[in-house]
Amino acid sequence: MTLSDLWVLLKQDLTQSYRVSGAKGKRTKQKSVFRRLLLPIAAVVIGVVIVWVIVAVVPLVGWDTLGTILSDNIGAGSSLFNVLLLFSFIGSIMVSATTVGNSSKMEYLMTMPISLRTLFLEKTIIVILYSSVFFLVIGTPIFIGLSITSTAPLAFLSVPLFVAMMLVISTLGVSIGGLMGLLFSRILAGRRRLKQVGWFLGSTLAVFGSIIYYYFFFASNGLGDLFPILIQIASALGLTSGISPGAATSTLSLGFLVGAPVTISEVVLALIYGVVAISLVNLNAYVSETAHYSGWLTSGSKRTSKTKTPVLHETWNPRPIPGFTFNTATSVSIWYNLTNIRREGRVLAQYLVGPLRFVAIIFLGLFAGGDIVAGYTSFIVIAVIVPFVISYAVSFAGYELVYEGRNLMNLQLAPLSMYDYVMGKIYSSAPFALVASTIVSIIVAIIAPSLWIYIPVVIVSAVCINQAAGGIAANAAAIGGDFRAERLVTRQRGAQVQMPIRGWSMLRAQLLPNLIGFTGLSIIMGLGVFFGPLFAYVVLVPFGLICLSLSRHYARSAGRKLTQKEASDYL
């Protein structure tokens, strides 16, 4: 392994994702210079603004005051940096495994005269850069601004120290996370089903992890309560604040900023972390290489036996949603959607459990408000069902439609009504909306037994909202979907993010359904509570019909747009 190999690889990787000069060929659609440079420009602008604001504001407060605050909070700074470490760790758990698993996509690099170790090292470095770039873009100008205003003699040193230590922290997090992922993949090697279950549980845990994070964020005294607990966790892990990587970062960078005395032992500590980080990232590359050669991550196929067991198939007649019959196009579409999602544990978890995150924000945010809303708990719980079922609709009918990608060709060639096919996508999220709203209703009935009479109303309207949202999402996907986007699961980390549905269309997919859902459900429940349950049931009928006809209307429009898509949009 040579550093020059590494440099060549890094250069080609970065120019690929951030090509500043566009391709000029006649075949290539030209992008404006501004759009190509948007990200770097934004970063610079943000940086300049931050520096400017700090330089303008700090004199008003007075450096002395600020300096004292900073000196007093070097400990809190440690915790903050440790949290960043935790973030980059959590965010990187599957990174190395994904890179190795996707290695077929870098075949062209793997045939070059470079050791695979260097190659994997380079990919990890890219991830490290990506996972720290946000904090660097925000943090560096803060340190620049503060060191301009600081009165300490060596304040400027805090800037390079911050950058260096931030990279060390990120390297530590990414390497350890990567190694953990590789360990998992070793354990799960070759067991397809187990792997999927593992993925499902892992992704679910990650979602719950972030919910806990939101909980601390909203429900308690803001972030104040978050840190002590994280510090407890950290110290339980042996990372006592004083010698944690975060502490090394904080004492060095903030120390120079405020002119606090820096001891030799602190410098040594920082150096040790630097060395550990470099060793770990190399170890990560080494284990990745081993993983690649020993094939832990090749898709667990059972195509090993050459014995001739005759292949017998059951009669083909999938009934994707038990108890319902659809026309063939719709039913095969439902079947295809569910099969595709089901076979990828991560996707299933993201789709099913993921929305809990958004719910947690609303829910805990409201609870944090205190007494005012306390009496309305059950209604809040009911309201939560709206974003939930909409989220299902967006994933099943919106994202999955986009992920049809190249399969769109098959659909366009077949004499099939695209409307029926889109309807299949929309229907396929209904069972999940039904289950989720049933669970919510039961919770409500337990909290507030007087509301049991509304259980059917809530369930039916939730499913109807889900259907309307599905139609709208499918239409938004047909308009603004990036049909070349790859499913996020298989995406190479560090590759440019391709959102399956672009900006405005995503808004379209979310806004109208939420509006309809919240308004509708409020009216229904309101009428019920003020005039009696009968009214709720009466209004449910037109509301349901409106939702279903919206669903059809938008599905038809989506179908029309999909039929007209040109192959060059998705091939």
Partner: protein
């Protein structure tokens, strides 16, 4: 075997594909330029040409996957712009790079495609699928996920998918690339059989032997334009001499630059 029951045999010389001044421009690049040709019933038409000459683009336009910038085409009289649905119903397509859902098994995929083509479910359809899979030697992999398939296997399953609805017009984009000899021989027999039953086939290939053996007529395109067209005999006549297809092809599209090659080899040694 394949039960292609559709066309009365005596009605020959029906125009199955008629391309009329097809043109496709990508951004500013002219990929296909005023291309016209015809494929008759019971005929295998070979589209030859260097890489990037516009073969795949032409095929995609015929299939309605790309809209021509100018010109149009008819498939059994159905205009590909105004009556594309009727036109598509008649066609089967194997793309250059098969488009396959990785998370389905081969069997599931075959049934999925049958369903979207609205072939009635049931034992008859499954018997036919079974025959095709067995014929192409991929039956024993039919319960494996497609992500585990090799390149040739993917091509084969995608041929199965194209034949399921018994198309009258088959469009095959470099089908033979990467297929094993037995598979290639099987495919040749299948295509010959379909032709004798009256199907028309538009195929592209870079393997000139296959074109010579299989195609009734050949069109050679270069930079999106037709530079020669006709049966092998007609092409020879045009080329004025007993030339092989390879020689004709290289004459028309430009052969290797011997001088440059010699220079390069001289440099190397």
């Amino acid at each position: 075997m394949l039960r292609h029951k559709w066309i009365p045999d005596e009605r020959r010389l029906i125009l199955m594909i008629e391309a009329i001044g097809l043109k496709k421009v990508f951004s500013e690049f002219v990929a296909v330029d005023n291309l016209s040709f015809q494929v008759n019933q019971g005929e295998i038409y070979g589209l030859l040409g260097p890489n990037g000459s516009g073969k795949s683009t032409t095929m995609r336009m015929l299939l309605g996957l790309l809209r021509p910038t100018e010109g149009t085409a008819k498939v059994m009289g159905h205009d590909i712009i105004t009556e594309i649905v009727e036109a598509k119903r008649l066609m089967g397509y194997v793309p250059e790079e098969p488009v396959l859902p990785e998370r389905l098994t081969g069997w599931e995929y075959a049934n999925y495609v049958s369903d979207i083509w609205k072939i009635p479910r049931g034992s008859e359809r499954e018997k036919e699928l079974d025959e095709l899979l067995t014929l192409l030697d991929i039956k024993d992999a039919s319960d494996d996920l497609i992500e585990t398939y090799s390149k040739g296997m993917s091509r084969k399953i995608s041929l199965v998918a194209a034949l399921i609805h018994q198309p009258k017009v088959l469009i095959l984009d470099e089908l033979q690339a990467g297929i094993d000899p037995r598979g290639a021989a099987t495919i040749k027999e299948i295509l010959n059989g379909l032709r004798s039953k009256g199907a028309s086939i538009l195929m592209s290939t870079h393997i000139l032997e296959i074109a010579e053996q299989l195609c009734d007529r050949i069109g050679i395109i270069k930079d999106g334009k037709m530079v020669a067209e006709g049966s092998m005999d007609e092409l020879r006549l045009q080329a004025k001499g007993e030339k092989s297809l390879e020689e004709i092809f290289l004459d028309l599209t430009g052969g290797p630059d011997m001088q440059k090659i010699a220079e390069y080899l001289g440099d190397v040694v």
